[in-house]
Symmetry: C2
Subunit: 231 residues, 2 copies
Amino acid sequence: MTAITTAAVRASTHRPPAGLLAQHALVSGSNGGLQPAGTRRTFARGEELFAEGEAADFFYKVVSGTARVCKLLSDGRRQIEAFQLPGDIFGLESGAEHRFTAEAVEDVVVLAFRRSRFASLLHDNPAFGDQLMSSMILSLERAQEHMVLLGRKTAQEKIATFLLDMSRRLTKTDQVELPMQRTDIADHLGLTIETVSRTLSQMVRDGLIRLAATGRTIVLSNRTGLQALNG
Amino acid sequence: MTAITTAAVRASTHRPPAGLLAQHALVSGSNGGLQPAGTRRTFARGEELFAEGEAADFFYKVVSGTARVCKLLSDGRRQIEAFQLPGDIFGLESGAEHRFTAEAVEDVVVLAFRRSRFASLLHDNPAFGDQLMSSMILSLERAQEHMVLLGRKTAQEKIATFLLDMSRRLTKTDQVELPMQRTDIADHLGLTIETVSRTLSQMVRDGLIRLAATGRTIVLSNRTGLQALNG
DNA sequence: CGCTCTCTTGAGCCCGCTCAACGACAGTGG
DNA sequence: CCACTGTCGTTGAGCGGGCTCAAGAGAGCG
């Protein structure tokens, strides 16, 4: 049981999907032991998991699919703080309300955990507490890296970093099936959709990547070249 | 020391207490014996607390002064992820090494905690673990807000947000004594030093702020106007 | 087939950057 | 006391990367 929990911790760090499968087994296996069971919930593409200002009664762990956590400014400008992929934990707040909105980028299955039992979870189940702490640290590190990207990288560097990151988190191969559309990428990288599109086209011309007809499947044909743009 | 710790946690929380924050009462209500003692260390202006790539044996809590946590790109571009003010906890990593550099913006006094005792701290002292978890969540929330700023706000909005934030965290009055120089502000907000300077000058002309001769002391003479620029 | 949604491409503009000069101090040494 | 020097902040002139506005091309679907 302890070993299973440990595997779950690993799944939330930069690890291969292997750990992920173990965790699915864990959830469905419901041993009623050390791992607190969340409630399984499914959201369709575009659906809202929670909205800014709502009571933050739950936090979430992605089982499958992709969610985006974002914030809107008063005039409609949007920043996507992160894409939440399988294994990621998100939606844990210090205050009573969610300060960001979470939506399904594509159909997504999550485990929902009641925050009101947060303290008792931590105290009764140190292993789960460790997992949560690791997850928070990981989220913070991702956010820190992303601030460097947003504050100091050029459009080309932003896209290169994004593609390499998606490859690492999604497939670890040179072929990446992006779950999100260009608008989401733009709002994640602090660009406009036109700049994202133009930059990708330029990368094709430069032989760095290849684009499938739909535009969602991207082949990283020159990983070294992309890494050189990483900063 | 316990008094400092408790006040610091409160000062760094910008939300009304909710379920999670019940633990703060635990911390403040606990006797001094439960709070693990860190090692007090002092750094002079410009000194390095730790560098990117160094072993992350310690994490820190600011007692007085200001530190900056930053990252350099290969060509010298710099992003300051955060300014650490009294009460803030930083330098906790998921890996073995620090992924960012921390330096003293002005003379700074910190408490250093050994990370190797991290797990035992958490288990032997749940209150301290709660405080750490709250601190991580707070850091993450700050990082998220900052991503909105970096990705989607104009120079004027960035400066306005920064000034209001510094006022809230430092003095809570309309007169702010900035501990950092223009270069640091620029690298924090994803701007150049010239743009920071020009924007501040324009704000003076617009009657939003007043600048002392040295430039470090800023009076927020029109807080409402600044808040309108906040996004 | 028409409709919608998504993505791409073009043309021109503007905000913030680059390059450069200058001013205000604080130390420091003669 | 002033001259010299380094650091920090301000201001100006001009440029360019990414944005805005606009049109068009595919793909999916009824």
